[in-house]
């Protein structure tokens, strides 16, 4: 078991986890209307570049120029590392980067002055660990939309197998033209704020964020990550399984020792695409979780891709700590077939477990189990 020692979120809703959580509790959203590269209306949760740069320069005092995703990544990691009070330069500290597209925006700027290697994800990771003068080779996890969960499972294994004493897991992705155009070509973007699990859901919103979890070994106090598994649908590279096969199997392994009645809530992937949300409902029901409260955070933050698993875990950890089930923003009319207990109000819970799930292209699915110790 491992425990989060500190965490941070850099999103349009704030630059600390506390501010982000408070904004979620107030029902705020970073998703605003805008246009795609050819002028079609979309809605995106976008970081204000000048605010980001200002906060980054103040906190990180950079000696060179950085791209927006690098700024967000370094700002988030610096704030979390400071709060955790760990020695990030120690050989006993490991770094994990979770990102799908990193500096992809540079591909569209052939004459950029960042150099050829800056486009690589390993370079982003090296920048992250290098910023803290850490001597270890950093790891980059890039497993589509489940990257943030896969990165936490990597941290879990690093700590459990004694590779490190502390692991810093940072996720980052931006709403580049590249990603927006791609999802638009799939016709999976909602021009308005997304509505996870709702009858009128039309698709997702892209969101920008960086988020960091600093992990250490669990000590039976506070919150622990006790289990996490990834399973594949073996069905389709861009469409979820009709039986929720991979997610169901990931849940079965993750919930092996915990009955559904002990689970306070599921923080679902809930992208608000018609197929994803339906698939999740099927998988949850198959795993005996059809009465467990479920919410999605996508209407607050958009789909933050490589950051999603980390950002959404942090908000959910804070909800578990406070003992509340969050309402699933954007949900009004039940929009999936079968039983699914979508949360509509802020409710109190005494239960000690929460589940975070994610699913992604390539047929991958992840489930994480968090526990609150009394």
């Amino acid at each position: 078991m491992i425990k989060p020692l500190a965490y941070n979120i850099v999103s349009p809703l704030g630059f600390t986890a506390t501010d982000n959580y408070a904004a979620v509790r107030r029902g705020e959203s970073g998703v605003v209307p805008c246009q795609d590269p050819v002028g079609i209306p979309i809605a995106v949760s976008r970081l204000d570049r000048s605010k980001l740069l200002k906060a980054f320069e103040k906190k990180c005092k950079p000696s060179q120029k950085h791209t927006a995703p690098e700024q967000a990544m370094l700002l988030s990691a610096s704030l979390a590392v400071q709060e955790a009070g760990i020695d990030a330069s120690s050989a006993r500290t490991g770094f994990v980067l979770s990102s799908t597209k990193g500096n992809i925006e540079l591909l569209g700027i052939p004459e950029n002055d960042f150099g050829r290697e800056r486009i690589h994800l390993w370079h982003n990771a090296a920048l992250l660990s290098g910023f803290f003068n850490n001597p270890n080779i950093p790891l980059t996890v890039t497993n589509a939309c489940i990257s943030g969960a896969a990165a936490q499972i990597a941290a879990f294994n690093m700590l459990e197998k004694g590779l490190y004493d502390h692991v810093v897991v940072t996720g980052v992705d931006m709403a580049s033209d590249f990603i927006v155009a791609g999802f638009q070509s799939f016709k999976s973007l909602d021009p308005e704020r997304c509505r996870p699990f709702d009858a009128r859901r039309k698709g997702l919103n892209i969101g920008e964020a960086a988020a960091t979890l600093v992990f250490g070994k669990a000590d039976g106090k506070g919150i622990s990550l006790i289990q996490g598994n990834v399973r594949n649908d073996a069905n389709h590279i861009s469409g979820p399984s009709r039986t929720g096969e991979g997610l169901y199997r990931a849940l079965c392994h993750t919930l092996q020792d915990v009955p559904p009645r002990d689970i306070g809530f599921i923080s679902a992937h809930g992208t608000a695409t018609p197929f994803n949300d339906q698939m999740e409902a099927i998988a949850f029901a198959r795993a005996g979780l059809d009465h467990t409260p479920v919410f999605s955070l996508k209407a607050h933050f958009g789909h933050t891709m490589g950051a999603a698993g980390i950002l959404e875990s942090i908000i959910s950890i804070m909800a578990l700590e406070e003992g509340v089930v969050l309402p699933s923003m954007g949900y009004k009319e039940h929009g999936v077939e079968g039983e699914l207990n979508v949360s509509t109000v802020t409710a109190h819970t005494d239960k000690r477990f929460m589940v975070k799930t994610l699913s992604g292209f390539g047929g991958c699915n992840a489930a994480l189990l968090y526990q609150k110790h009394s």
């Binding site: 590269p37 050819v38 799908t100 597209k101 992809i104 591909l107 569209g108 486009i119 690589h120 994800l121 390993w122 370079h123 990771a125 090296a126 080779i137 790891l139 980059t140 996890v141 890039t142 497993n143 589509a144 896969a150 499972i153 990597a154 294994n157 459990e160 197998k161 590779l163 033209d177 590249f178 155009a181 791609g182 999802f183 638009q184 070509s185 799939f186 598994n229 990834v230 399973r231 594949n232 649908d233 073996a234 069905n235 389709h236 590279i237 861009s238 096969e245 991979g246 199997r249 392994h253 092996q256 992604g360 292209f361 390539g362 047929g363 991958c364």
Partner: protein, 205 residues
């Protein structure tokens, strides 16, 4: 003891299966056309292959050869096998292709290209072909690192019920292919020891 029970090395001009070079005639010039040459030589008969990007084609073919040599049952759903691949350049080869389709004066982004701008799609392709329902993961490292690949495989084995890991370095960029795929069994008395020296020997051949 962990053993490599089969492996395939695939580069621009080399196909080695379990230590033996494969005699494949290449009608195509060096480059992506040769992946299709290998596909035809193997008589795979899997039309989805032609939709794949070059990274997926390369990882798919190497996996196909490894699994064939083990007479792997691709018809039965299998949750005891995981796929853990890594590389240096992520999906940059296809990222460049997709970028060309979104320039202001020539805008025609295609979902069929976009989906391959994620490197883990190759793990999904191999999983679909072989009904593998264990973990699929993709990691990025600056350069080939046998030690790290052993660690990733170790992690995959710590998930319940996993007894085989298809572990690979799958790099494809700008027409150049550099792939090593190995089947690693958790408990086996046959095969090559799964250690740094043996992996490096295989990689360097």
């Amino acid at each position: 003891m962990k053993k490599i029970t089969a492996y395939c090395r695939l580069t621009d001009d080399l196909v080695i299966l379990n230590g033996k070079p494969c005699e494949i005639s290449f009608p195509s010039e060096p480059g992506p056309g040769r992946l299709t040459d290998i596909y035809r030589h193997l008589e795979v008969g899997y039309p989805k292959f032609f939709k794949m990007d070059n990274l997926s084609k390369a990882g798919f073919l190497a996996s196909e050869m490894v699994l064939r040599s083990l007479q792997y049952d691709m018809e039965t759903p299998d949750e005891s096998t995981s796929i853990v691949f890594c590389n240096r350049s992520s999906s940059l080869d296809t990222d460049k292709r997709f970028q060309e389709t979104i320039s202001r004066d020539n805008y025609f982004p295609s979902p069929a290209v976009f989906v391959y701008t994620l490197p883990n799609i190759v793990t999904g392709e191999v999983a679909i072909r072989n009904k593998i329902m264990g973990e699929t993961s993709f990691f990025i490292l600056e350069s080939f690192d046998a030690e790290k690949m052993i660690i990733f495989t170790d992690w995959a084995f710590s998930s319940a019920g996993i007894c085989r890991v298809l572990c690979g370095w799958t790099e494809y960029l700008d027409g150049h292919c550099n792939v090593l795929v190995m089947m690693v069994e958790k408990e086996s008395d046959k095969g090559v020891d799964f250690n740094k020296q043996k992996i490096n020997n295989i990689y360097r051949t």
